[in-house]
């Protein structure tokens, strides 16, 4: 019967479609609901960009996890940002160049391996070795012998596999020799790149990457890449800051709006990135469960000082004038709903006065003054060619609004509606390529999230000659000299004072205009309490209590 065959065809087609759809549906059940897992915090997360390895993670999302499952020699106090000894019992030096590191006994990884001097030495040698192509390898560049394991030139080969500056004394003690004086170096050791690694990391790397093993208050229970990670309190943790909850479920959200909606619907406990479009409602929605705290992030506009448009002798006056033409207060209030604070120096308030933050260091040059701004720009010969753009990437972070507002502010001062316009670039990748290959003709947006809460981290990587993030390619021998002197100081206050002297040079040279300090913003459900953000704007997960 013809009719019957036809029906068979149709049934066949549908069956194929349904089988295809059904496969894989049973892989992970009961995912997002979280019901029945009492005492566990359900938090939003973003997909880490790179594999989770201490020295290969340079963005917040991967860093969050590393900070939960690892503890290093030092840890930054979540409230004061001060570097405090964690695994280290003491780090001493007589000359700011040779350091003696002693470890507290008794620390172990969650697989039972002890945390000893080898855990650090092996990890650091692995991280620095060129062959392993770790994104944060340059953090080890101060250690003596780095240039042999990681030569700088393209195509060069390592001539050693271990750094000569690392010397094991005993299981609980090792010595580090730096290739230059750097008094604040111990305070950098809280950064994720310096975490120790267990032997399991080296013996079965692939397995470790699927389920990283650390020595922190949490251990990873399960990890489905791209969608979910379940962390549970590790009962064997001996450190002073054990988890106050039973665990944390991190759920990947593709859109922070959806995470916020899930928070409102009661499916999520913690959102650490409030979408810009919700900032207006967030106080009425969440009340006191909304956090808006300063973080170690500063936004700037950098100038391509290598380009002849911006390299003339008088150009600094134009740059200063442009800085004075930006109405920071108005923009932070109207566009950012006060989640940014107008910047008055090149560091961040989270450093505190003792750490090197100095409100008003930039002075009049960073204060809105239309009349003086116009005068300065004209004295400097005006904007090169009468027109400039401000570059930004259009894919993330909704930069368009504030760039347009900054241009608007400049245009109003100059009385010229076309003097400044925004110049979007499609993707962040493309934007960074243009910057690092020195192809910019005009100023562009730049941001800096600190690696560790030190004034050094806000100045040296950004403005030292040929430093890794010197996007402006600013070079001032006087600045370099002051930074070197600061690093050679043996006392922190003296070092900070020298750094501030260097920072004052930025006021006259203005290689980058400080715009505002960024706040971390988060919201949480009424199921949890004791939620706070650390100076890196990451929630302090281990302190959170579940009702």
């Amino acid at each position: 019967m013809r009719g019957a065959t036809r029906v068979k065809w149709a049934v066949g087609v549908t069956a194929v479609a349904l089988t295809a759809a059904a496969c894989g549906s049973s892989s992970d059940n009961g995912g997002g609901s979280g019901s029945g897992s009492g005492g566990v915090v359900r938090a939003s997360w973003g997909d880490p960009q790179n594999p989770l390895e201490p020295a290969n993670t340079n963005e917040v999302q991967g860093g969050k996890v590393l900070d939960m499952i690892f503890r290093g020699l030092k840890k930054y106090n979540p409230k004061t940002a001060k570097a405090e000894n964690m695994i280290a019992s003491s780090i001493t030096s007589g000359d700011s160049q040779n350091f003696d590191i002693k470890l507290k006994p008794g620390w172990t990884f969650s697989n039972g391996e002890p945390v000893d001097a080898d855990s650090f030495i092996n990890a650091w040698n692995y991280d620095a070795l060129l062959k392993n192509a770790q994104l944060n390898a340059s953090f080890f560049s101060y250690i003596d012998g780095y240039s042999k394991v990681h030569p700088d030139a393209t195509g060069a080969k390592s001539s050693a596999t271990t750094m000569s500056g690392l010397k094991k004394v005993s299981d609980t003690e090792f010595k580090v020799k730096l290739n230059q004086k750097f008094s604040l170096w111990p305070d950098t050791l809280g950064y994720a790149a310096f975490y120790p690694l267990p032997k399991a990391f080296f013996s079965n790397h692939a397995a470790w990457l699927n389920k990283p093993i650390g020595n922190g208050p949490y251990a990873i229970q399960s990890y489905t890449k791209g969608s979910k990670m379940s962390l549970r309190k590790w009962d064997g943790y001996k450190g002073p800051d054990p988890a106050q909850n039973k665990g944390v479920d991190l759920r990947v959200y593709t859109d922070n709006n959806t995470a916020y909606t899930d928070l409102q619907a009661g499916n999520l406990d913690l959102v650490d990135d409030i979408p810009a479009s919700q900032l207006k409602n967030v106080k009425s929605d969440l009340g006191s469960r909304y956090i808006n705290e300063p973080a170690g992030i500063i936004q700037t506009i950098s100038f391509p000082l290598y380009n002849k448009r911006w390299s003339s002798a008088q150009s600094a006056k134009v740059r200063q004038g442009l800085s004075m033409a930006i109405n920071r207060k108005q923009i932070t209030e109207q566009i950012f709903q006060k989640t940014r604070t107008p910047a008055t120096d090149w560091t961040s308030p989270v450093l505190g006065d003792a750490g090197g933050y100095k409100a008003g260091l930039c002075g009049a040059e960073c204060t809105y003054d239309p009349a003086k701004a116009k005068k300065l720009i004209q004295e400097g010969g005006g904007i090169p060619g009468g027109k400039m753009t401000i570059g930004y990437n259009a894919d993330t972070g909704s930069h368009k609004e504030w760039v347009d507002a900054v241009c608007n502010s400049i245009n109003n001062v100059l009385g010229n509606n076309t003097a400044c316009v925004g110049a979007p670039t499609g993707t962040f990748a493309d934007f960074r390529n243009k910057i690092t290959s020195k192809q910019m003709d005009n100023p562009f947006r730049s941001g800096w999230q600190m690696d560790y809460p030190l004034i050094q981290d806000f100045l040296q990587p950004l403005y030292y000659t040929d430093a890794s993030s010197n996007d402006s390619h600013y070079s001032n021998p006087q600045f370099d000299k002051l930074v070197n002197e600061a690093n050679a100081e043996t006392s922190t206050p003296a070092a900070v004072a020298k750094f501030q002297d260097a920072e004052k040079l930025l006021v006259t040279d203005m290689p980058a205009i400080p715009l505002w300090y960024q706040n971390g913003s988060a919201g949480y459900s009424d199921r949890i309490t004791d939620v706070a953000l650390n100076p890196f704007s990451v929630p302090v997960y281990n302190e959170i209590k579940v009702k």
Binding site: W9, L135, T254, D262, T427, T436
Partner: protein, 307 residues
Amino acid sequence: MGRYVIRRLLQMIPVFIGSTFLIFFMVYALGDPVAALFGDRAPDPATAAQIRHDLHLDDPLWKQYLIYMKNIFTGDFGTAFNGQKVTDLMGSAFPVTIRLTVVAIIFEIIIGIILGVITGMKRGKPVDTGVLLLTLVVISVPTFVTGYVLQYVFGVQLGWVSPSVSPAAPFNELILPGLVLALVSLAYVTRLTRTSIAENTRADYVRTAVAKGLPRRRVIVRHLLRNSLIPVVTFIGTDIGALMGGAIVTERIFNIHGVGYQLYQGILRNNSPTVVGFVTILVLVFLIANLLVDLLYAVLDPRIRYA
């Protein structure tokens, strides 16, 4: 029929090679992904060179393409930046998106065709005008607006469904996203069916069937509907590919980790293995869906036959 199917399958080979090359070329033109890996920090030249070498980015484009194709034939679709095999990404993403698409297609077929038949039979009546207006509204409102509105109403205000879909994405959680994804196509299916039905109600064979005294239900389903469905089937068939690719917006709104999400990440991070691999599969899906449509013609109308 068998020979026709084989010929169609062979045609897919040049299409497959051409499309992969085009996509490869376009992703390559987006620029070098290595600088973005380092965030705000400028890459140190040695590490960047090492990464470029590991990813074959220092080879000329044609050579990269050849390496890529060679790997594909050994089942290796490359690795995403987070260290996952692209085949693993596909294994987790495609079932989810296929399920979402199936839900959407079922909505299209059931609601779209029923509404189309009703309005086609009652042309000019208030029901017809009402549905026409409704479909016009649906077509003119962008998907992300309907998506966010329905999500807020059903997910937050009424609390009937969860606003986001869990990683496992079972069928019952995909009903609302599937509806959102289907809405625009659904409106088109309704309108297509309506026109087609309205045209065929005046056809001779329908009049004959009615004159023979066949029950009304049988006239509509067996005679009228079957002949009217040919343009609708064509539309739904081509729509399968479009839905899978177009799920980017819907998947983002409902936090579904499917093809759209992986493609978006791939493009954002300039990761050519992910983008090329996923689009290649989408191209194949599109081709197969079209083949199935052509085969269904013969089922619907025996006069259409293939040698």
